[in-house]
């Protein structure tokens, strides 16, 4: 596979975005190792004007959006709206998008695909994850959060490896199911019941719009 451009947004102004930014780092390293060209729109750079410029000038094939969201938009640094339904989602034309962001697959995703995006994978409800309140300063060492990272990151890892949108979606769905079963044994931990339910929530909320056979 020839090298492709991959853009990440990684705001990290609060607890949730800090965790998601750390999760995205694993994908960033994997993409670099595969020889892809990385555009890392991180921290305070994750603002609308910067993102729009990169989308137009660099034209990345894969866009991995991390941040707060709603049904019509995905946010960046300090929740500034970066991509907004029917306002600038045409800038996603020809791109595959994974939005790790609440609700954004509900309206923004279909709108982006209607405006020319190749595919949009995201969540049509809040994306939720568990954390251990004693591990907040070190997201990578939070075993609760890492369970959710493992399932979510299957999308990016699969796409970076050249898998299709459908395969990436199915791989993530399978990982959610596998993790639910893993934490379902009778000897599992006190938090197992919560892990199972919130994994189920994300699994049911995850959707893939657009060309299912598209690849990086």
């Amino acid at each position: 596979m020839s090298p492709k451009r991959i853009l990440f947004t990684r705001p990290e102004h609060d607890k949730v975005t800090f965790y998601l930014s750390c999760w995205a780092h694993e994908l960033l390293v994997q993409a670099k190792n595969k020889g892809h060209h990385i555009i890392d729109v991180g921290a305070e750079k994750a603002i609308k004007s910067v993102l729009e410029e990169y989308l137009i000038k660099s034209n990345p094939r894969l866009v991995l959006l991390n941040g707060h969201g709603n049904r019509e938009a995905v946010g960046g640094h300090k929740d500034e709206l970066l991509i907004i339904k029917a306002q600038n989602d045409h800038l996603l034309a020809g791109k595959i998008i994974y939005a790790l962001s609440c609700h954004s697959a509900a309206e923004l995703g279909p709108s982006a695909v209607a405006s020319g995006a190749t595919a949009f994978i995201g969540y049509n409800a809040p994306f939720c994850f568990l954390t251990d309140k004693n591990r907040e300063c070190t997201p990578d060492n939070d075993p609760l959060a890492n369970i959710f990272k493992e399932a979510s990151n299957q999308i990016g890892l699969s796409l970076i490896k050249g898998k299709t949108v459908q395969s990436a979606y199915q791989t993530s769905q399978n990982k959610f199911q596998q993790l639910i079963r893993k934490h379902g044994s009778s000897d599992s931990t006190p938090e197992a019941k919560e892990i199972r339910f919130w994994l189920f929530w994300d699994m049911k909320s995850q959707v893939a719009h657009g060309e299912q056979g598209a690849t990086l």
Partner: protein, 65 residues
């Protein structure tokens, strides 16, 4: 008691057993501890209704998971 009341009670019992060190990060709803989750469910607000509905869907799907 209505069926809805029964479902709410069932979900509340499940959440009562959640360990205190766990926090649920729910996007724009923020980071919620056990007390906050229980409050949303008891108030039967948008998030509370969503949690109850998803818990019931989860319980119904347990056989197929």
């Amino acid at each position: 008691m209505t069926l809805q009341d029964d479902m709410i009670q069932l979900v509340l019992i499940r959440i009562e057993s959640m360990p205190d060190y766990i926090e649920v990060n729910l996007g724009s709803f923020g980071t919620l501890n056990k007390a906050a989750l229980i409050s949303h469910i008891k108030k039967n607000d948008e998030l509370g209704k969503q949690i109850v509905a998803m818990q019931m869907e989860y319980l119904r799907s347990l056989k197929s998971l």
